[in-house]
Protein backbone atom coordinates (compact mmCIF):
# COMPACT_ATOMS: atom_id res chain seq x y z
CA UNK A 1 0.00 0.00 0.00
CA UNK A 2 3.04 2.24 -0.13
CA UNK A 3 1.96 3.96 -3.34
CA UNK A 4 -1.39 5.03 -1.89
CA UNK A 5 0.35 6.22 1.27
CA UNK A 6 2.95 8.29 -0.55
CA UNK A 7 0.24 10.10 -2.48
CA UNK A 8 -1.50 11.41 0.61
CA UNK A 9 0.22 13.93 2.83
CA UNK A 10 2.58 12.51 5.41
CA UNK A 11 0.72 13.47 8.55
CA UNK A 12 -1.93 12.13 10.88
CA UNK A 13 -4.40 12.18 8.00
CA UNK A 14 -2.30 9.59 6.14
CA UNK A 15 -3.06 7.00 8.83
CA UNK A 16 -6.78 7.64 8.48
CA UNK A 17 -6.65 7.40 4.68
CA UNK A 18 -4.66 4.18 4.93
CA UNK A 19 -7.41 2.68 7.05
CA UNK A 20 -9.95 3.96 4.55
CA UNK A 21 -8.05 2.32 1.72
CA UNK A 22 -7.79 -1.00 3.53
CA UNK A 23 -11.49 -0.82 4.26
CA UNK A 24 -12.31 -0.14 0.61
CA UNK A 25 -10.07 -2.97 -0.57
CA UNK A 26 -11.78 -5.41 1.79
CA UNK A 27 -15.18 -4.24 0.51
CA UNK A 28 -13.99 -4.82 -3.05
CA UNK A 29 -12.94 -8.30 -2.06
CA UNK A 30 -16.43 -8.97 -0.75
CA UNK A 31 -18.00 -7.74 -3.98
CA UNK A 32 -15.94 -10.02 -6.18
CA UNK A 33 -17.64 -13.30 -7.00
CA UNK A 34 -16.66 -16.37 -5.01
CA UNK A 35 -15.02 -18.12 -7.96
CA UNK A 36 -12.35 -15.46 -8.31
CA UNK A 37 -11.19 -15.04 -4.76
CA UNK A 38 -11.95 -17.17 -1.74
CA UNK A 39 -13.37 -14.49 0.47
CA UNK A 40 -12.28 -16.00 3.75
CA UNK A 41 -8.60 -15.98 2.82
CA UNK A 42 -6.60 -12.82 3.29
CA UNK A 43 -5.27 -11.93 -0.13
CA UNK A 44 -2.97 -9.08 -1.06
CA UNK A 45 -4.46 -5.81 -2.22
CA UNK A 46 -2.62 -6.13 -5.52
CA UNK A 47 -4.42 -9.41 -6.12
CA UNK A 48 -7.76 -7.77 -5.31
CA UNK A 49 -7.05 -4.97 -7.79
CA UNK A 50 -6.06 -7.48 -10.45
CA UNK A 51 -9.22 -9.50 -9.93
CA UNK A 52 -11.30 -6.32 -9.98
CA UNK A 53 -9.83 -5.38 -13.38
CA UNK A 54 -10.65 -8.82 -14.72
CA UNK A 55 -14.13 -8.71 -13.24
CA UNK A 56 -14.92 -5.30 -14.76
CA UNK A 57 -13.71 -6.52 -18.16
CA UNK A 58 -15.88 -9.62 -17.94
CA UNK A 59 -18.91 -7.53 -16.94
CA UNK A 60 -18.35 -5.29 -19.96
CA UNK A 61 -18.24 -8.37 -22.15
CA UNK A 62 -21.46 -9.64 -20.61
CA UNK A 63 -23.24 -6.35 -21.29
CA UNK A 64 -22.02 -6.53 -24.87
CA UNK A 65 -23.21 -10.11 -25.23
CA UNK A 66 -26.60 -9.39 -23.67
CA UNK A 67 -27.08 -6.35 -25.92
CA UNK A 68 -26.44 -8.56 -28.92
CA UNK A 69 -28.89 -11.21 -27.72
CA UNK A 70 -31.55 -8.62 -26.97
CA UNK A 71 -30.99 -7.08 -30.41
CA UNK A 72 -31.54 -10.44 -32.09
CA UNK A 73 -34.60 -11.12 -29.98
CA UNK A 74 -36.19 -7.73 -30.55
CA UNK A 75 -35.55 -7.98 -34.26
CA UNK A 76 -37.90 -10.89 -34.59
CA UNK A 77 -40.55 -10.03 -32.05
CA UNK A 78 -42.07 -6.69 -31.23
CA UNK A 79 -43.08 -5.56 -27.77
CA UNK A 80 -46.57 -6.96 -27.37
CA UNK A 81 -49.05 -6.44 -24.57
CA UNK A 82 -48.10 -9.71 -22.88
CA UNK A 83 -44.50 -8.67 -22.71
CA UNK A 84 -45.51 -5.33 -21.32
CA UNK A 85 -47.43 -7.20 -18.61
CA UNK A 86 -44.34 -9.19 -17.68
CA UNK A 87 -42.23 -6.10 -17.51
CA UNK A 88 -44.81 -4.45 -15.31
CA UNK A 89 -44.57 -7.45 -13.01
CA UNK A 90 -40.80 -6.96 -12.93
CA UNK A 91 -41.35 -3.41 -11.77
CA UNK A 92 -43.61 -4.44 -8.89
Amino acid sequence: MSSWRSRSRQSNSSRISEEQINDLVSKLQMILPETRIRNNDRVSSARVLQETCNYIKSLHREVDDLSERLAELLETTDMTSSQAAIIRSLLM
Partner: protein, 212 residues
Protein backbone atom coordinates in the same frame (compact mmCIF):
# COMPACT_ATOMS: atom_id res chain seq x y z
CA UNK B 1 -22.79 6.96 4.43
CA UNK B 2 -25.48 4.42 3.71
CA UNK B 3 -26.18 3.75 0.06
CA UNK B 4 -29.10 1.63 -1.03
CA UNK B 5 -29.84 0.54 -4.53
CA UNK B 6 -33.49 -0.39 -4.26
CA UNK B 7 -34.62 2.59 -6.31
CA UNK B 8 -32.34 1.54 -9.13
CA UNK B 9 -34.54 -1.31 -10.27
CA UNK B 10 -37.50 0.85 -11.29
CA UNK B 11 -35.47 3.75 -12.60
CA UNK B 12 -33.24 1.49 -14.66
CA UNK B 13 -36.11 -0.43 -16.23
CA UNK B 14 -38.11 2.67 -16.99
CA UNK B 15 -35.15 4.40 -18.58
CA UNK B 16 -33.97 1.33 -20.44
CA UNK B 17 -37.39 0.56 -21.93
CA UNK B 18 -37.79 4.18 -22.92
CA UNK B 19 -34.45 4.01 -24.66
CA UNK B 20 -35.37 0.84 -26.51
CA UNK B 21 -38.67 2.30 -27.60
CA UNK B 22 -37.05 5.52 -28.81
CA UNK B 23 -34.28 3.80 -30.73
CA UNK B 24 -36.90 1.61 -32.38
CA UNK B 25 -38.97 4.54 -33.54
CA UNK B 26 -36.21 6.98 -34.48
CA UNK B 27 -34.66 4.96 -37.23
CA UNK B 28 -35.57 1.57 -38.49
CA UNK B 29 -32.22 0.05 -37.57
CA UNK B 30 -30.78 -1.51 -40.63
CA UNK B 31 -28.40 -3.94 -39.03
CA UNK B 32 -28.24 -5.92 -35.85
CA UNK B 33 -25.00 -4.12 -35.08
CA UNK B 34 -26.78 -0.75 -35.01
CA UNK B 35 -29.57 -2.14 -32.88
CA UNK B 36 -27.06 -3.64 -30.50
CA UNK B 37 -25.24 -0.33 -30.16
CA UNK B 38 -28.43 1.54 -29.42
CA UNK B 39 -29.39 -1.09 -26.82
CA UNK B 40 -26.01 -0.71 -25.20
CA UNK B 41 -26.38 3.05 -25.20
CA UNK B 42 -29.80 2.82 -23.55
CA UNK B 43 -28.47 0.40 -20.96
CA UNK B 44 -25.48 2.57 -20.03
CA UNK B 45 -27.61 5.70 -19.88
CA UNK B 46 -30.18 3.91 -17.75
CA UNK B 47 -27.46 2.71 -15.40
CA UNK B 48 -26.05 6.21 -15.06
CA UNK B 49 -29.48 7.71 -14.37
CA UNK B 50 -30.40 5.02 -11.91
CA UNK B 51 -27.26 5.55 -9.86
CA UNK B 52 -27.65 9.30 -9.55
CA UNK B 53 -24.93 11.87 -9.61
CA UNK B 54 -21.48 10.50 -8.99
CA UNK B 55 -18.16 11.13 -10.65
CA UNK B 56 -18.33 8.14 -12.93
CA UNK B 57 -21.94 8.72 -14.04
CA UNK B 58 -20.98 12.28 -14.93
CA UNK B 59 -18.03 11.04 -16.98
CA UNK B 60 -20.07 8.28 -18.61
CA UNK B 61 -22.85 10.60 -19.76
CA UNK B 62 -20.26 13.07 -21.05
CA UNK B 63 -18.55 10.34 -23.02
CA UNK B 64 -21.82 9.04 -24.46
CA UNK B 65 -23.01 12.51 -25.41
CA UNK B 66 -19.88 13.37 -27.32
CA UNK B 67 -20.17 10.63 -29.92
CA UNK B 68 -21.89 11.83 -33.07
CA UNK B 69 -23.87 8.66 -33.70
CA UNK B 70 -25.46 8.76 -30.25
CA UNK B 71 -26.77 12.29 -30.39
CA UNK B 72 -30.07 11.62 -32.17
CA UNK B 73 -30.95 8.74 -29.86
CA UNK B 74 -30.06 10.77 -26.81
CA UNK B 75 -32.20 13.65 -28.01
CA UNK B 76 -35.12 11.26 -28.39
CA UNK B 77 -34.67 9.74 -24.95
CA UNK B 78 -34.08 12.92 -23.02
CA UNK B 79 -36.38 15.21 -24.99
CA UNK B 80 -36.45 18.66 -23.51
CA UNK B 81 -33.88 17.69 -20.90
CA UNK B 82 -31.28 17.08 -23.63
CA UNK B 83 -30.15 20.69 -23.89
CA UNK B 84 -29.90 21.13 -20.14
CA UNK B 85 -28.05 17.88 -19.55
CA UNK B 86 -25.62 18.35 -22.40
CA UNK B 87 -24.80 21.82 -21.17
CA UNK B 88 -24.24 20.44 -17.70
CA UNK B 89 -22.20 17.45 -18.76
CA UNK B 90 -20.16 18.81 -21.64
CA UNK B 91 -16.88 19.73 -20.06
CA UNK B 92 -14.25 20.20 -22.73
CA UNK B 93 -11.86 21.24 -19.94
CA UNK B 94 -12.13 17.76 -18.46
CA UNK B 95 -10.67 16.16 -21.55
CA UNK B 96 -8.03 18.82 -21.94
CA UNK B 97 -6.82 18.08 -18.45
CA UNK B 98 -6.59 14.38 -19.25
CA UNK B 99 -4.65 15.02 -22.46
CA UNK B 100 -2.16 17.25 -20.68
CA UNK B 101 -1.69 14.69 -17.95
CA UNK B 102 -1.10 11.92 -20.49
CA UNK B 103 1.70 13.94 -22.08
CA UNK B 104 3.29 14.38 -18.66
CA UNK B 105 3.20 10.67 -17.96
CA UNK B 106 4.88 9.88 -21.26
CA UNK B 107 7.78 12.27 -20.67
CA UNK B 108 8.26 10.94 -17.14
CA UNK B 109 8.36 7.37 -18.35
CA UNK B 110 10.85 8.31 -21.05
CA UNK B 111 13.23 9.91 -18.57
CA UNK B 112 12.87 6.94 -16.19
CA UNK B 113 13.74 4.48 -18.96
CA UNK B 114 16.67 6.67 -20.02
CA UNK B 115 17.94 6.56 -16.47
CA UNK B 116 17.69 2.78 -16.38
CA UNK B 117 19.50 2.50 -19.68
CA UNK B 118 22.26 4.76 -18.46
CA UNK B 119 22.85 2.76 -15.31
CA UNK B 120 22.73 -0.49 -17.31
CA UNK B 121 25.42 0.83 -19.64
CA UNK B 122 27.56 1.66 -16.65
CA UNK B 123 27.72 -2.05 -16.02
CA UNK B 124 25.80 -2.05 -12.76
CA UNK B 125 22.44 -3.78 -12.56
CA UNK B 126 19.47 -1.68 -11.51
CA UNK B 127 18.83 -2.76 -7.96
CA UNK B 128 15.12 -2.53 -7.33
CA UNK B 129 13.90 -2.98 -3.80
CA UNK B 130 10.77 -5.08 -3.23
CA UNK B 131 8.75 -2.09 -2.09
CA UNK B 132 9.46 -0.37 -5.40
CA UNK B 133 8.43 -3.52 -7.25
CA UNK B 134 5.22 -3.65 -5.27
CA UNK B 135 4.60 0.00 -5.94
CA UNK B 136 5.17 -0.48 -9.68
CA UNK B 137 2.77 -3.42 -9.75
CA UNK B 138 0.11 -1.42 -7.97
CA UNK B 139 0.64 1.61 -10.19
CA UNK B 140 0.22 -0.56 -13.24
CA UNK B 141 -2.97 -2.12 -11.89
CA UNK B 142 -4.46 1.18 -10.85
CA UNK B 143 -3.58 2.52 -14.29
CA UNK B 144 -5.63 -0.27 -15.86
CA UNK B 145 -8.46 0.40 -13.41
CA UNK B 146 -8.39 4.08 -14.29
CA UNK B 147 -8.90 3.22 -17.92
CA UNK B 148 -11.76 0.83 -17.20
CA UNK B 149 -13.81 3.08 -14.95
CA UNK B 150 -15.32 6.12 -16.69
CA UNK B 151 -13.73 9.27 -15.37
CA UNK B 152 -11.13 7.28 -13.52
CA UNK B 153 -8.10 9.07 -14.97
CA UNK B 154 -8.63 12.07 -12.76
CA UNK B 155 -8.91 10.26 -9.46
CA UNK B 156 -6.39 8.69 -7.20
CA UNK B 157 -6.07 6.89 -3.93
CA UNK B 158 -9.12 6.17 -1.88
CA UNK B 159 -11.47 8.18 -4.10
CA UNK B 160 -10.51 5.99 -7.06
CA UNK B 161 -11.19 2.87 -5.02
CA UNK B 162 -14.59 4.05 -3.85
CA UNK B 163 -15.54 4.96 -7.44
CA UNK B 164 -14.42 1.51 -8.58
CA UNK B 165 -16.52 -0.12 -5.87
CA UNK B 166 -19.59 1.90 -6.83
CA UNK B 167 -19.07 1.25 -10.53
CA UNK B 168 -18.67 -2.52 -10.07
CA UNK B 169 -21.89 -2.72 -8.07
CA UNK B 170 -23.81 -0.72 -10.67
CA UNK B 171 -22.38 -2.81 -13.52
CA UNK B 172 -23.37 -6.03 -11.81
CA UNK B 173 -26.88 -4.65 -11.26
CA UNK B 174 -27.08 -3.59 -14.92
CA UNK B 175 -26.07 -7.07 -16.06
CA UNK B 176 -28.61 -8.72 -13.77
CA UNK B 177 -31.42 -6.45 -14.95
CA UNK B 178 -30.60 -7.04 -18.61
CA UNK B 179 -30.43 -10.78 -18.01
CA UNK B 180 -33.82 -10.93 -16.36
CA UNK B 181 -35.32 -8.72 -19.06
CA UNK B 182 -33.90 -10.97 -21.75
CA UNK B 183 -35.22 -14.09 -20.06
CA UNK B 184 -38.65 -12.56 -19.63
CA UNK B 185 -38.81 -11.46 -23.25
CA UNK B 186 -37.57 -14.80 -24.48
CA UNK B 187 -40.06 -16.80 -22.46
CA UNK B 188 -43.01 -14.64 -23.35
CA UNK B 189 -42.26 -14.77 -27.04
CA UNK B 190 -42.21 -18.57 -27.05
CA UNK B 191 -44.65 -19.91 -24.50
CA UNK B 192 -47.64 -19.13 -22.31
CA UNK B 193 -47.40 -15.99 -20.19
CA UNK B 194 -49.13 -17.41 -17.08
CA UNK B 195 -46.53 -20.11 -16.59
CA UNK B 196 -43.90 -17.68 -15.38
CA UNK B 197 -43.74 -17.71 -11.58
CA UNK B 198 -43.50 -14.22 -10.16
CA UNK B 199 -41.05 -15.17 -7.42
CA UNK B 200 -38.29 -16.20 -9.81
CA UNK B 201 -38.44 -12.89 -11.64
CA UNK B 202 -38.43 -10.96 -8.38
CA UNK B 203 -35.33 -12.83 -7.23
CA UNK B 204 -33.44 -11.79 -10.33
CA UNK B 205 -33.79 -8.14 -9.44
CA UNK B 206 -32.23 -8.18 -6.00
CA UNK B 207 -29.24 -5.92 -5.52
CA UNK B 208 -26.37 -5.61 -3.15
CA UNK B 209 -26.56 -3.08 -0.37
CA UNK B 210 -23.43 -1.59 0.99
CA UNK B 211 -22.88 0.89 3.71
CA UNK B 212 -19.84 2.96 4.53
Amino acid sequence: MHVTKEFKKKTFLKQFLLGLHVSNSISNPISIEQRKNSIKLSADLAMAFARGRTHWTHALITKLGQKEENKSTLKGILGRRYQILMARYSCPLLYQKVQRRKKGVRSYRFSYNAQKRRSALKGSCVRVSPSVVARNLENRRSKVLKRLVPGGELLKGSSLLSEVLDYVISLKAQVDMMKSLWRATQVSSSSNVELIPKCSIAKEGSFLHYSK
